[in-house]
């Protein structure tokens, strides 16, 4: 028998169901005991046969009383688009979960979560866990426009399940839902009115950089989940490096102390060939 105790070995899974979340985002659901045991912030490498293999945040979905593994994908380039169009009954490959996960310090009383786009996949899971631990938590859900708001129903269900001991706030780029503008602006205004002990963030890097700056300004620890180009996810190829850290192994989640040392954070990333490129176009 093949030994599957090693989660690095590709597992072929059959897609159980596909759920449309927004016009450009779908959740792909499959049976996988390792995904079900994953923590918020961990990711899978998802093989789309003949197309690509991509890192994707790992989710957990309940169908009836049974827990399934899931990934929530925005259609973008060839890989994500092929995954987006996969149907129930088709097969994909997965390995992992990989990476560390968001930490919940003992005695944490309140936290602010700032997420944008598919960055909300781990954060909504984290939101549920925090409320479960009775941490008073505000979740900022950012998106481009109203129709692209992701996981609102999940966030609402978490609130209901926890007697509304938390808050959810929305921001959209075009102002069609919640505040108009960036999640960082919204976070700033919330921070000015209320004290928080922890900031969690996942989303576009420049947004996370903004959150880090808020953390410095308000002296609040931050945990951010970084993205870099990933090939192996097992710490051998080096393609995911940021300064001397490997995002796949040392991350994806880094805390304020480490973020401060990562001079490349919010500044530059490596492309597929390993060359440093800038987030902000050089003048």
């Amino acid at each position: 028998m093949v030994d599957h105790t090693n989660t690095d070995i590709l597992r072929s899974v059959q897609i159980e169901r596909v759920i449309a979340e927004t016009p450009s985002i779908r959740t792909i659901i499959f049976e996988d005991k390792y995904s079900v045991a994953s923590m918020p912030g961990q990711f899978l490498m998802v093989w789309i046969p003949e197309v690509d293999e991509l890192p994707m945040s790992v989710g957990i979905e309940n169908l009836g009383s049974h827990k399934f593994g899931a990934v929530t994908v925005r259609k973008y380039g060839p890989g994500s688009t092929a995954l987006y169009y996969k149907k129930g009954g088709e097969r994909i490959g997965i390995r992992g979960p990989y990476g560390n996960y968001f930490s919940i310090p003992k005695n944490l009383r309140n936290a602010l979560i700032i997420g944008g786009g598919t960055g909300l996949v781990p954060l909504v899971r984290l939101f549920g866990d925090l409320l479960n631990y009775h941490v008073n938590t505000t979740l900022i859900m950012g998106s481009r426009t109203k129709s692209e708001v992701l996981f609102e129903h999940k966030a609402q269900k978490i609130l209901t399940d926890n007697n509304h001991n938390g808050n959810v706030a929305f921001s959209t780029d075009d102002g069609t839902y919640g505040d108009k503008g960036s999640t960082v602006d919204l976070a700033e205004s919330i921070l000015l009115s209320k004290k928080f002990e922890m900031l969690y963030t996942c989303g576009p890097e420049l947004m996370m950089k903004g959150v880090q700056k808020l953390g410095e300004r308000f002296s609040i620890p931050v945990e951010a989940s970084l993205e870099r180009y990933m090939k192996c996810a097992i710490g051998i190829c080096g393609s995911c490096c940021i300064n001397d850290r490997l995002v796949c192994q040392d991350g994806t989640i880094f805390d304020s102390n480490r973020l401060r040392q990562l001079t490349e954070f919010g500044v530059s990333y490596r492309d597929k060939s390993g060359r440093l490129s800038s987030f902000i176009p050089q003048p």
Partner: protein
């Protein structure tokens, strides 16, 4: 025994390169950034070989580029993605700390001329010519199987640097002894053996070869017995400096390579299973072994099996 003496036991010189220990990071592992090189050195490596660098940047293949097998081995077809010699020389320009060997890949002597000139002045200790990447056409094995080409590439490289030049050979469709002979005749200072071996993994559920390139290179414990044989044959025939490479997972493997004839050895795949602490655990294992056997210097191990 105090730490300093222990670490002195591991000092050695290989073709003019002075290493604090014989444990070298293999090419292609974590090898594109100066910050990572420094971390690997701090973790205990004796030297570091960069990812193979080409004249121009290469994106490499689409994912999947790596498949993990049951027995702690990999098949990879990364496709020699690298930033190119221009960007890479920029990357390492501040290096004054890490004993860095730059791996070069190219398709003809002029590539190597340009790259050697560009990189020779950097803070590096030597070059390794990758003649044996088994899964990229017109680079690697296709070049390495042609003794005439090997000769002119090595000659060109040597004439543009005073630093030691190793040639990395593989188990492909030519005899490693013939190719090594050609490289040594042309002035190579040593041989690195071996690269990965052409291999494939097919999904029996999806029916596809998993790697986007279909064929890749096998590394890890699976190839160790083959690599040991190559090192043994190379040492027996040439008695030149050899970097043993292929499946070193622990100090026992490391010792086996050295007594087979390796002057030093490179570690790659083991990092995926043991993390970067593998450098220190191998050092410690070798030192304890030497103490048990009563050796003063790791050099006493080199080629010892040939007395039998």
């Amino acid at each position: 025994m105090n730490l300093e003496i222990k670490s002195e036991m591991l000092n050695l010189e290989v073709a003019g390169m002075y290493l604090r220990n014989p444990i070298i990071l293999a090419s292609g592992f974590l090898g594109i950034s100066q910050a990572i090189f420094e971390r690997i050195y701090d973790e205990g490596a004796g030297a570091v070989v960069s990812k193979s660098i080409s004249r121009y940047p290469m994106e490499g293949y689409r994912n999947p580029t790596i498949v993990v097998l049951e027995n702690k081995s990999y098949i990879n077809a990364v496709g020699l993605s690298n930033p190119g010699c221009e960007a890479f020389s920029e990357e390492i320009k501040t290096n004054d700390k890490v004993p860095l060997i730059v791996s070069l890949v190219g398709s003809d002597p002029s590539d190597f001329e340009i790259m050697t000139r560009k990189l020779d002045g950097s803070g590096i200790i030597g070059f390794e010519i990758n003649l044996s990447c088994p899964h990229v056409q017109k680079l690697g094995l296709e070049v390495g199987d042609d003794p005439q080409m090997v000769k002119s590439i090595v000659e060109t490289t040597k004439s543009n640097t005073t630093k030691p030049v190793f040639v990395k050979v593989g188990v492909g469709s030519t005899n490693i002894l013939d190719i090594s002979q050609a490289a040594l005749n042309a002035g190579a200072d040593g041989i690195t053996a071996i690269n990965t071996i052409r291999a494939m993994k097919i999904s029996i559920d999806n029916f596809n070869p998993i790697l986007s390139n279909k064929v890749g290179g096998l590394s890890g414990p699976s190839i160790k017995p083959i690599a040991i044989r190559c090192v043994y044959e190379l040492w027996k025939k040439f008695k030149v400096p050899i970097f043993g490479c292929g499946g070193v997972s622990n100090w026992e493997d490391a010792v086996e390579f050295m007594i087979a004839g390796a002057t030093s050895f490179q570690v790659g795949t083991a990092i995926g299973f043991g993390g970067m602490s593998v450098f220190n655990s191998i050092s410690n294992g070798i030192v304890k072994y030497m103490e048990r056997k009563g050796y003063q210097s790791v050099k006493e191990l080199i080629g010892r099996s040939h007395k039998y």
